[in-house]
Amino acid sequence: DVKVTQSSRYLVKRTGEKVFLECVQDMDHENMFWYRQDPGLGLRLIYFSYDVKMKEKGDIPEGYSVSREKKERFSLILESASTSQTSMYLCASHGPGGAYNEQFFGPGTRLTVL
């Protein structure tokens, strides 16, 4: 089974802090994604990566950056956290081709910025 893990389930940070969220997948998937989930808005794509050191902006990249130095690891960085970034953050991955190309999700990190 595909396993996607995230470094923390819950995180509390202060406004202005630099925040790192880590995601690791164990299925050698090329593609990895960061979403944020807010009530009534569903999941919104922040950034995705289709290869090591490659990244693409999603729908809401402002205030975020990402890093992918190794294939299995995709990091989301909040350079200067703000209260508006309080949310649930979900990481996902999927492999190349195949009929289904479904994304597999990690357990999520609930971030609170005070």
């Binding site: 593609n31 994604f33 979403y35 009534g40 808005l41 569903g42 999941l43 919104r44 794509l45 995705f48 289709y50 999603g58 979900l90 996902a92 999927h94 009929a99 289904y100 190309n101 479904e102 994304q103 597999f104 999700f105 990690g106 357990p107 999520g108």
Partner: protein, 110 residues
């Protein structure tokens, strides 16, 4: 730009009843996904629908796709409490990107 809308957003129903969640999408999507999310948990893949007229069933859940109408439905038959969760549909834009609906929070009361 693909947009995906679900309705209803909230659904409270009695055990044993049938109901349908609707997922409309705005432009062509070559596949449609349904996910389930339990409270405090992550998303679990339920169905992937690849072509017009596709129908998939798992237990009391059945998903279908009408690409001409740009509509997918998730039908719940004889609901049981264990099906209480939030259900998301998603369309695919480009090769990798999924666009999600807002989610439907389903509560099934005994």
């Amino acid at each position: 730009e693909l947009k995906v809308e679900q309705n209803p957003l909230f659904l409270s129903m009695q055990e044993g009843k049938n109901y349908t969640i609707y997922c409309n999408y705005s432009t062509t999507s070559d596949r449609l996904y349904w996910y389930r999310q339990d409270p405090g948990k992550s998303l679990e893949s339920l169905f992937v629908l690849l072509s017009n007229g596709a129908v998939k069933q798992e237990g009391r859940l059945m998903a279908s796709l009408d690409t001409k109408a740009r509509l997918s439905t998730l039908h719940i038959t004889a609901a049981v409490h264990d099906l209480s969760a939030t259900y998301f549909c998603a369309g695919r834009e480009g090769a990798q990107k999924l666009v999600f609906g807002q989610g439907t929070r389903l509560t099934i009361n005994p």
